[in-house]
C-alpha cells in the first residue's frame, strides 16, 4: 500500500538504564536524588515527632511524603522516565502498583468491614463466662 511507510524504530531501554549521559551528569543525578531523599526523610521524621502541626494531618502528610520519596527513588535511582523508550517499564510498574493497591486497599477495607459486622472476640469471651 502506498499510503504506508514502514519505519524501523530503536529498541526500548532496560529498566535502570539511563539515556546516554556523561559520567558527571550521572553522578549529579544520584547526588540530587540523595539530597531530595534525605530532605524528604528528614521532613517525615520531623513531622512524625512534632506538635507544631495539626495532629490529624500527620498520617496524611507521612503517606504523601513517603509516596513523594518513592517517586524520587524511581526517577533518580531507577531512572524511570516518561519517555517512549520506557513505556514497557512504566506499564509493568503501573500494573504492579495497581495490584499492590488492590491487595492492600481491598484487604484493609474487607477486614475492617468484617470486624464491623462481628463483635470483637474479646467482648464475646466474657459474655460466655
Amino acid at each position: 500500500m502506498s499510503d504506508q511507510t514502514h519505519m524501523h524504530v530503536e529498541h526500548d531501554i532496560a529498566p535502570g538504564d539511563e539515556e546516554q549521559h556523561s559520567v558527571g551528569a550521572r553522578i549529579l543525578g544520584y547526588v540530587v536524588g540523595l539530597a531530595l531523599a534525605l530532605l524528604l526523610t528528614a521532613t517525615s521524621f520531623f513531622i512524625a515527632g512534632t506538635d507544631l502541626v495539626w495532629q490529624p494531618s500527620i498520617p496524611v502528610a507521612l503517606i504523601v511524603l513517603a509516596i513523594a520519596q518513592m517517586g524520587v527513588h524511581l526517577v533518580f535511582f531507577l531512572h524511570i522516565t516518561t519517555g517512549p523508550d520506557n513505556t514497557n517499564n512504566v506499564l509493568a510498574l503501573a500494573f504492579g502498583l495497581l495490584v499492590v493497591f488492590l491487595v492492600v486497599g481491598g484487604t484493609v477495607w474487607i477486614m475492617a468491614h468484617l470486624n464491623q459486622n462481628m463483635p470483637p472476640m474479646d467482648q464475646i469471651m466474657p459474655m460466655r463466662n
Binding site: 514497557n88 500494573f95 488492590l102 481491598g106 477486614m111
Partner: protein
C-alpha cells in the same frame, strides 16, 4: 519404640517408623505400586543404556520445546494420580449412605485435599505452562524463551513440589484441610501432623517454579518477538499467555506470602491466623483468595487462547473480532483482581462490600461472553472440520457456558448464601475447570502434538476419548448440581439423607464413563506411537494452521527457524504464515548463518535436587539437612553464575543441512499440492 525415639529426634527430626502407614493398606499398596513403577522405569532406562540420552537431551535440556513436553508429561502423570483420588471419592460417596463406606474419615479428608491440590497445582498449571512453553516462542518466530536455564529451573522446582506431594502418600500423611488449608484447622493446634507442612512446602517450592515460568514468559512475549511482530499481530494464544503470566507474576507472590505466614504460625509460634493473641483467621481467606481468584484465570486464559487458535484453524477463517478478543483478554486480566471476595460472601461483610464484589463478579462474565460470541462468529460461515481438537473446542463452548451461567448465579450474594460450600458449588467449579481448562489442555495437546513430535495422533481413538469424557463429565457433574440443591454440602465422608443417594450413584456411573475416556486417551497415545510412520507429518503444517509455528518443520529443529521470519501485515495469522513459508522456501543455501543457542545446563535438576532435600527436611524438622540443602542450592547458583561459556554455535553448514532436509521434503509436497 521408645528406644529408637531417643536417638532419632537428634538426627531425623519428627521422622521415625511410625510415619509409614503400615496399618492403612490403600496408600501403602498405592505407594508400593508407584515405587515399583518408578524403579522399573529407572531400571529399564539404565539397563538399556538410555541414561546418557535422557540426561543430555531431556533432563539438562534448556530447549523450550523439550521443557514444555516435560511439563505436559508431569501434568499427565499427576492427572492419573488426581483422577485416582477422584474415583475413590466418588465410590466412597456412592457407598457411604448410612455407613462408613470403605475410606475412614482421616483418609478421605486427605484424599479430597490431595485431589484439589494436585489437580490445580500439578495438573492444570503444568499442563498450560507446558503448552505455553512449547508453542509461544514458535508463534512469536523466535529461537527460545527469554531465560532458557531459568525455564529449566522452573520446571524442575514444579516437579519437586509434585514429588513431595507423592512422598506424603507413603511417608507421613497429607493435609486433611481441603486444598486451601484454611486456618484455624490448618494451625498447629488442630493439625499437629506433617500433612499441612507437606502441603505448604510443596506449594512454596512449586510456586517459585511457577513464578519463574511467569517472569520468563512475560519477558518472552514483551521483549522477544520477531521482526514485524507488532503487538496487534500476535496470535491470540500469545495474548492470553501474556495476560495469564502477568497474573502469575502478580498473584503467586500473594500465595507465597500467605503460605509463609501460615508456616510462620506453625513453625515459630507467630499469630497471623491463630485464635489467640489477636490473630485473624479471616485474613487468611482474604489473602489466599486474592491469589485464588486470579489463579482461576491464570488457568483458563491460556485455554481461551488455545480455543481461539483451534476454532479459527478448523473453521478455515481468521479469528472473528481479533481486537475485541485482545481487549476482552486484558479486561479479564485486570478485573480478575477485583472479585476475590465472592469466595467468602458468607463470611460476614456487609451488603455494600458484598454487593460491589458481586457486581464485579458478574461484570467479568461480559468479556468472557464477548469471547464466546467471537468463537461462534468465527465458526459462522466457515468450512468447519470436526477434527479432535475442534471437538474439544465445541464441547468446551457448550460446557463452559453452563458452568459460566451457574457462576453468575453464585455471584449473587443471597444465592451464594444458600449454595456456599454445597455440592452445587463443587459442580460449578468442576464445570468451568474441566469444561474450560481440561478440555482446553486436551484440545491443545491434540492440536500441537504433531508439532512437538512430528506425527499426528490417531483420530478415531481421539474422538472416542472426547465423547466418553464429554458424556462422562455430564453424567458425573450434573447430578452434583441437584444434590447441592437438595442441600448436600461438600466433603462429606458419609451421609444419611436418602434423597441424595441416587444422585451419588449416577455420579459414580459418570465417573466410570470418564475413566473410559481417560483409557481411550492413553490408548490413543499408544496406538499413535505404534502407527507413527503412517501418521508422520512431513509438511510441518498438518492442520493448515494460521500462525508461525506451522511455518517450520515438525518437530522443529533445536533453533526453531533457520531464518528469523519477517512478519508484515496485520490480518493476523494467515498472511504471515504464508509469507514466512514462502520466505523459507525461497531461501537458497548460501545465505545460512551461524546460530548461537544456549548450552544445556544441569542447574535446574541440581537445584531441584537440593530443593527436594530441603523441603523434605523442613517438613520433618531435620534442621541439619535444611542447612545442607540451602548451602547446596546457593553453591549451585554460584557455580552456574561462574561458568564462562553459556552458548554454543551451530555452524551455518549444519543449519543448512538440517534445513535442507525438510526444505526438500516440503518443496516436493508443495509442488504436489499445486504451489503456495
Amino acid at each position: 519404640m521408645p528406644a529408637v525415639r531417643t536417638v532419632e529426634p537428634m538426627m531425623l527430626g519428627k521422622l521415625d517408623w511410625s510415619a509409614i502407614p503400615f496399618d492403612q493398606p490403600i496408600p501403602l499398596i498405592a505407594g508400593a505400586v508407584v515405587l515399583v513403577g518408578i524403579l522399573g522405569v529407572l531400571a529399564w532406562v539404565v539397563l538399556r543404556g538410555h541414561l546418557p540420552y535422557l540426561w543430555d537431551e531431556w533432563i539438562t535440556s534448556v530447549d523450550h520445546k523439550r521443557i514444555g513436553v516435560m511439563y505436559i508429561l508431569l501434568a499427565s502423570v499427576m492427572l492419573l494420580r488426581g483422577g485416582s483420588d477422584a474415583i475413590m471419592m466418588r465410590i466412597q460417596q456412592a457407598v457411604a449412605y448410612q455407613s462408613q463406606g470403605y475410606l475412614p474419615p482421616e483418609h478421605y479428608n486427605q484424599i479430597f485435599s490431595a485431589h484439589g491440590t494436585i489437580m490445580i497445582f500439578f495438573v492444570a498449571m503444568p499442563f498450560v505452562i507446558g503448552l505455553m512453553n512449547l508453542v509461544v516462542p514458535l508463534q512469536l518466530g523466535v529461537r527460545d524463551v527469554a531465560f532458557p536455564t531459568l525455564n529449566s529451573v522452573g520446571f524442575w522446582l514444579t516437579a519437586t513440589g509434585a514429588l513431595l506431594v507423592n512422598i506424603s502418600l507413603v511417608v507421613g500423611e497429607f493435609a486433611r484441610t481441603g486444598w486451601l488449608a484454611f486456618p484455624p484447622l490448618s494451625e498447629l493446634s488442630y493439625s499437629p501432623g506433617v500433612g499441612v507442612d507437606y502441603y505448604a512446602w510443596s506449594l512454596q517450592i512449586s510456586g517459585v517454579g511457577t513464578l519463574v515460568a511467569g517472569i520468563n514468559l512475560v519477558t518472552t512475549v514483551l521483549k522477544l518477538r520477531t521482526r514485524g511482530m507488532n503487538y496487534l499481530r500476535m496470535p491470540m494464544f500469545c495474548w492470553t499467555t501474556l495476560a495469564s503470566n502477568l497474573l502469575i507474576v502478580a498473584a503467586f507472590p500473594i500465595l507465597t506470602a500467605t503460605l509463609a505466614m501460615l508456616l510462620l504460625d506453625r513453625y515459630l509460634g507467630f499469630h497471623f491466623f491463630t485464635n489467640e493473641a489477636g490473630g485473624n483467621v479471616m485474613m487468611f481467606m482474604n489473602l489466599i483468595w486474592a491469589w485464588g481468584h486470579p489463579e482461576v484465570y491464570i488457568l483458563v486464559l491460556p485455554a481461551f487462547g488455545i480455543f481461539s487458535e483451534v476454532v479459527s484453524t478448523f473453521s478455515g477463517k481468521a479469528l472473528f473480532g481479533y481486537r475485541s478478543m485482545v481487549l476482552a483478554t486484558m479486561a479479564i486480566c485486570i478485573i480478575s483482581f477485583m472479585v476475590w471476595l465472592h469466595h467468602f460472601f458468607t463470611m460476614g461483610a456487609g451488603p455494600d462490600v458484598n454487593a460491589i464484589f458481586g457486581i464485579a463478579s458478574m461484570i467479568i462474565a461480559v468479556p468472557t461472553g464477548v469471547k464466546i460470541y467471537n468463537w461462534l462468529f468465527t465458526m459462522y460461515g466457515g468450512r468447519i472440520r470436526f477434527a479432535t481438537p475442534m471437538l474439544w473446542a465445541v464441547g468446551f463452548m457448550v460446557t463452559f457456558i453452563i458452568g459460566g451461567l451457574t457462576g453468575v448465579l453464585v455471584a449473587v450474594p443471597p444465592a451464594d448464601f444458600m449454595l456456599h460450600n454445597s455440592m452445587f458449588l463443587v459442580a460449578h467449579f468442576h464445570n468451568v475447570i474441566i469444561g474450560g481448562v481440561l478440555f482446553g489442555a486436551f484440545a491443545g495437546f491434540e492440536y500441537w502434538f504433531p508439532k512437538a513430535f512430528g506425527f499426528r495422533l490417531d483420530e478415531r481413538w481421539g474422538k472416542m476419548a472426547f465423547w466418553f469424557t464429554f458424556l462422562g463429565f455430564y453424567v458425573t457433574f450434573l447430578p452434583l448440581y441437584v444434590a447441592g440443591m437438595l442441600g448436600m454440602t461438600r466433603r462429606l465422608q458419609h451421609y444419611d439423607v436418602a434423597a441424595w443417594r441416587p444422585w451419588m450413584l449416577v455420579a459414580a456411573v459418570g465417573m466410570a464413563v470418564l475413566t473410559i475416556g481417560v483409557i481411550c486417551q492413553i490408548t490413543q497415545l499408544v496406538v499413535s506411537i505404534r502407527n507413527r510412520e503412517a501418521l508422520r507429518d512431513r509438511t510441518g503444517d498438518p492442520w493448515d494452521g494460521r500462525s508461525l509455528e506451522w511455518a517450520t518443520s515438525s518437530p522443529p529443529p533445536v533453533f526453531n527457524f533457520a531464518f528469523s521470519p519477517d512478519v508484515r501485515g496485520e490480518d493476523a495469522y494467515w498472511d504471515m504464515k504464508a509469507l514466512a513459508r514462502k520466505q523459507s522456501l525461497e531461501h537458497e543455501g548460501p545465505e545460512y548463518h551461524d546460530i548461537e543457542m544456549p548450552r544445556n545446563s544441569p542447574t535446574g535438576f541440581v537445584c531441584a535436587f537440593f530443593a527436594s532435600i530441603m523441603g523434605f527436611a523442613l517438613i520433618w524438622h531435620i534442621w541439619w539437612m535444611v542447612i545442607l540443602g540451602g548451602i547446596g542450592a546457593f553453591a549451585t547458583f554460584v557455580v552456574f553464575a561462574w561458568r564462562d561459556h553459556d552458548e554454543y554455535v551451530i555452524p551455518a553448514a549444519e543449519v543448512a543441512r538440517i534445513d535442507g532436509i525438510n526444505l526438500e521434503e516440503r518443496r516436493s509436497l508443495v509442488s504436489m499440492a499445486g504451489g503456495v
